[in-house]
């Protein structure tokens, strides 16, 4: 596919890696904010190819992982009601609430459907006027505009049996929270490219300046990740801390004005709890007053459901880079993708799941220039 294949080229990847290897002189800890970037890194083994001095910390940018338990419990309650068709992106079905997940609701008779787009849920509402159709509106700034447009359409078309269970989250307040944590080790950020495709880059200079960290807007293909790392390392080695756009083909400084206007109309900023992390001020969106009647929490009176998150797993430490997934004592034993202890293990984008799936063993040393491991000689760590 154009704009993907070229950005996976092994020859160009080697050139980028060479440059990073030649540039780095000191240890640096970078955080890739987005779960999609974590996925690319692990899926292609990129972290094995980087110099040992460059450490990638997997950030909290997986919307499935950070959706708070309380909201999942509300989703389970709504989806269990007769006459409700509960629509969701596929990967939310596996995320456990208190005692069960959406798969289980389905096995108990609930009508839970996987859709590709929120517009598909709206279509289901049009086709089933006697039923209440609820869409689980989760995600970061990239997913918020599609969900906003869908509610807007529902109102425009007078589709009254549609509502949205909203748990949107915003990246900049999370970066702010991470940098303010006393234990923070992050020295540079690879910002999430597709979030910036919508939001632009205007929110970042103040953050970079305040915390003296380079922020490199980074894409999702292997070469994009390497270029993000390369630019961050160059800045760090030079003692700089600016906002740099390494994903210019898809990110304009001003973002997408039409999407921003729609977000402004449909949503309003609110405090939001992040699963495994806690409440981060101003880090979420909820439906604005104008669209309150489309808010599933109100329509189904589940605002009273509150759930405290029991302390059982160390995903918080993973999310802030204090702990690598495999350093957790539960990793791969008590805690696996099938029986996840924590949010980071739940989604395939979560740091722990990515490690479990792709890096459970340090199977082979990264190929160093000049040395070649034969296929047969893959030592187990």
């Amino acid at each position: 596919m154009k704009y993907i294949d070229e950005f996976q080229d092994p020859e160009l990847a080697r050139r980028l890696l060479d440059d990073i290897h030649a540039t780095v002189t000191r240890p640096w800890a970078l955080m890739e904010v987005c779960g999609g970037q974590t996925h690319t890194i692990i899926r292609h083994g990129i972290d094995q190819l980087l110099p040992d001095l460059v450490e990638l910390i997997h950030g909290p940018g997986c919307p499935v992982c950070v959706t708070p338990l309380e909201v999942i419990d509300k989703a389970l309650e709504i989806a269990s009601r007769p006459n409700v068709i509960f629509c969701s992106f596929g990967d939310m079905l596996r995320v456990p609430g208190t005692g069960r997940d959406l798969f289980q609701v389905r096995s108990e008779g609930g009508d839970v459907r996987v859709v590709y787009s929120p517009l598909d849920a709206l279509k289901i509402a049009q086709q089933n006027p006697q039923r209440e159709v609820v869409f689980f509106g989760i995600g970061f700034e990239t997913t918020a505009p599609p969900n906003a447009m869908t509610v807007h359409q529902a109102r425009k078309l007078g589709i009254r049996n549609f509502s949205l269970l909203v748990s949107h989250v915003r990246v900049p307040p999370a970066i702010e929270a991470i940098m303010r944590s006393p234990s923070c080790r992050v020295q540079g950020f690879l910002a999430a490219g597709h979030v910036c495709s919508v939001m632009g880059t205007g929110e970042y200079p103040a953050l970079a300046e305040r915390h003296r960290v380079p922020i490199v807007v980074t894409g999702f293909e292997p070469l994009d990740i390497l270029e993000g790392v390369r630019r961050a390392v160059h800045q760090l080695e030079r003692g700089e801390h600016t906002v740099d756009n390494a994903y210019a083909r898809a990110v304009r400084p001003e973002g997408n004005p039409a999407a921003l206007a729609m977000l402004e109309d449909v949503f309003e900023v609110t405090d939001r709890a992040w699963r495994g992390i806690g409440v981060i001020p101003d880090s979420g969106w909820r439906l604005s007053e104008r669209y309150r009647e489309y808010d599933a929490e109100h329509r189904f009176s589940v605002t009273g459901i509150t759930t405290l998150e029991p302390a059982e797993c160390r995903s918080g430490e993973v999310l802030q880079g204090l702990l690598k997934p495999h350093e957790c004592e539960a990793f791969g034993t008590l805690c696996t993708p099938r029986n996840p202890l924590g949010a980071t293990m739940v989604s395939s984008e979560g740091a722990c799941a990515a490690y479990y799936l792709y890096r459970r063993l340090e199977l082979t040393p990264a190929p160093q220039p000049g040395t070649v491991a034969p296929l047969e000689a893959s030592p187990v760590a």
């Binding site: 596919m1 798969f103 307040p173 001020p281 797993c313 989604s347 799936l357 459970r360």
Partner: protein, 353 residues
């Protein structure tokens, strides 16, 4: 910006469910949940030495003859899809299970479970497809059964088929025979069936010029066995895809498996459909492919024989069995890194992130 300092050292996360009190879709997904159900519920309840080997088909000796015996149920939705129908699947799926024992299918049984209200013309189309597929595979439907369930209790048509066939002299295909050094060959392009089905599934619809690869593999297997009866194991990577088959073989054989990601034949349309939905082609179902573990000295000749057969034209060596990391499947990525290819958990879900 918030001005309260947030201490994130105490970040915690909840402990979710451990056991499932009810059957979920994943139990039929061909992954870890399916395996658990069979190993911990069915196998202990049934007992029996043959079943405990848990192959796609059982090898049994009866009256001096070595027979392969297998059963499979077909619940695919929709009933007709690009490249085939539930009728084709019901023949080819069971024929292929037998072929993975090296057997040429001889007879099938066929049980139809029909939903009240389904149009007779639809049942007829399914039956026609099933008959044609049986003739193409050279197998005879020898016995059958029909039941009807009340409207709302089925999806139109479900089919169960069982099959038997003779295992040729000197053929012994099972994962326990895999040894380090064995060459892993896949018979062609992967992911076609799964993508064809997804493209017409409600809520997922997309346009794609991909048809199911649904086909009977008995002839291809016979051509391979003509080179040497000493193949070690064959699997048809259906539900759970190539990843599930390789993991089953690795786990049962105790060998490690290394595959070269760049060598796996993935058609661009399959790769791109997976890219949109966030799926991995290694986990997508096939219905007319096999993966073979072949002794190294026979690899070239077997590969040639496969490529001379219409269903093996795009056969490729994708990796090998190794002594390292026993029981694990590892992929070398195009950039030179490695990753573990795990057993899928349940059904594959499109992801957004």
């Amino acid at each position: 910006m918030p001005d309260t300092a947030l201490d994130i050292t105490g970040w915690t996360c909840p402990a979710p469910l451990r056991d499932r009190p009810r059957v979920v879709m994943g139990h039929g997904g061909g992954g870890a949940l399916s395996a658990e159900l069979v190993e911990h519920l069915f196998a202990p309840a049934f007992g029996g030495e043959v079943l405990s080997r848990l192959g796609d088909s059982a090898a049994v000796t009866l009256g001096g003859a070595r027979l392969a015996f297998s059963t499979d149920s077909y619940v695919v939705r929709p009933l007709f899809f690009p490249g085939g129908s539930i009728g084709d699947l019901a023949v080819n799926g069971t024929v292929n299970d037998l072929a993975m024992s090296g057997a040429r299918a001889a007879y099938l049984s066929c049980g139809f479970i029909l939903e009240e209200g389904v149009e007779i013309s639809i049942v007829a189309r399914v039956a026609e497809a099933l008959g044609a597929a049986a003739r193409a595979a050279g197998v005879e439907v020898a016995t059958g059964d029909t039941k009807v369930v009340e409207a709302g209790h089925g999806d139109g048509v479900y089919i169960n088929t069982s099959g038997i066939g003779l295992i040729p002299e000197g053929v012994d295909l099972r994962p326990q025979r895999v040894v380090p050094g064995d060459v892993v060959i896949v018979s062609g392009e992967i992911g076609l069936h799964g993508v064809a089905i997804m493209s017409v599934r409600e809520g997922m619809e997309f346009g794609v010029d991909v048809e199911s690869d649904c086909a009977a593999l008995g002839g291809l297997v016979a051509a391979m066995l003509a080179v040497t009866p000493d193949l070690h194991v064959l699997r048809d990577p259906t539900r759970g895809g190539l990843a599930a088959s390789l993991n089953e073989i690795a786990a049962a054989s105790g060998a490690g498996v290394v595959i070269q990601e760049g060598r796996i034949p993935v058609p661009p349309a399959v790769a791109n459909a997976c890219a949109i939905l966030g799926l991995d082609p290694l986990y997508v179902a096939n219905e007319g492919k096999l993966v073979a573990f072949v002794p190294r000295e026979h690899a070239d000749a077997v590969l040639d024989a496969m490529r001379a057969h219409p269903l093996g034209r795009h056969a490729r060596v994708i990796g090998e069995a190794v002594e390292a990391h026993p029981g694990l499947v590892v992929a070398r990525t195009g950039l030179g890194g490695t990753r573990v290819v795990d057993l899928p958990i349940g059904e594959q879900l499109p992801r957004i992130c």
